[in-house]
Symmetry: C2
Subunit: 242 residues, 2 copies
Amino acid sequence: MRKLYVVGIGPGDPEGMTLRARRVLEQAEVIAGYGTYAELVKPLFPDKEYLVTPMRREAERCRLAIDAACAGKTVAMISSGDAGVYGMACLALELARGKGVEVEVVPGVTAALSGGALLGAPLSHDFAVISLSDLLTPWELIERRLELAARAELCVALYNPASHRRADYLRRACEILLRQLPPETICGVARCVGREGEGMRVMTLAELADYPADMFTTAFVGNRQTREIDGRMVTPRGYRDV
Amino acid sequence: MRKLYVVGIGPGDPEGMTLRARRVLEQAEVIAGYGTYAELVKPLFPDKEYLVTPMRREAERCRLAIDAACAGKTVAMISSGDAGVYGMACLALELARGKGVEVEVVPGVTAALSGGALLGAPLSHDFAVISLSDLLTPWELIERRLELAARAELCVALYNPASHRRADYLRRACEILLRQLPPETICGVARCVGREGEGMRVMTLAELADYPADMFTTAFVGNRQTREIDGRMVTPRGYRDV
């Protein structure tokens, strides 16, 4: 059976991908991906055939990748982070149905983990991953999820906290969280993890509401136990003393 | 400054770790870890000094690793999956405070991602990660989190769904979820990912309640949009049609 690999390449640095992801990309003839991500792997694999489409043309890119696999080529479609977390794996599985192409998903380190490691250990207890992009999800549902996650005392990793079009979304999200959580709740942001300009900062929830996030930011909201330790964000693993 | 590395080694197979994790372990003189995880990396790095303590002796293991780092050794403490998700990173940061040891966390592929990739793409939309172990968390809080996660229409990855002592916890969790979600909600389990006996199965929430999970299982609960496609579990990325 023909096979399509969907590969999470991790945060973006060559060392951030798994050995399995690296091997699959090495063996592929065609690498399909959004332009920015293709540029991240091109220096490692300069001699591959690249199938690149712009953002918001995911279905088209996916169909091209499936067509190439049907034509007998070894194709790897890449996502940054993990291919299953707001990535291309679901679309590949949906669109490959009935095409005689098996989809193999190669997992990777998603931003909640890579950004979390930079900050310290913000997600050491139960947590939620919520995207603030309302491109594919009604904002009312995002609001409801934020409110219920905070009421559940889940730590939260916020993906896509802002873009040009949505400059105030992180503030709006924080205002909802502030109805449930104290303003001094420990939070943090990680930026450009594994890329130029990498950085992190620990702050309170009140400060996070004013933070100028961009497309390269992942934000983290702690629970009532989360603390700042030596400039890092740390959520204890359990509710008993160490 | 002295440094302690806390390294997530991924699901367990040598190819499942990142290149960065592999390099850090290669450069380490001492590898500290729970016995089972130490056995996973020993074949790759047979000549290291190993600091191994049993399960539930995490703080002791962590103190030994910090002591070794203080003594000038290059020490890597390993966790399976990601070091920040129910792993050792938080404990290392807490216990290293004031010891003059910098903690560098090297992220890895946690079970939600490795098991998710095997199943297909169960977590392609907002999700929660919840552990059913009540060793460090009151069961009432776990119940509350399950209920609120389901009401928030979050997909859920359930860690530690069962052990010898907690044979019926997955059933109890499913009963709480069944108060909010239809019994035909698409769910799945992944077992022994990256190890001998690897496998997965897609099923309904009603079936998951009867599934004989063990310590090597991660369970996945879909949202109302989650579907079974060619034997895989797929949550669409958005709420609009492809």
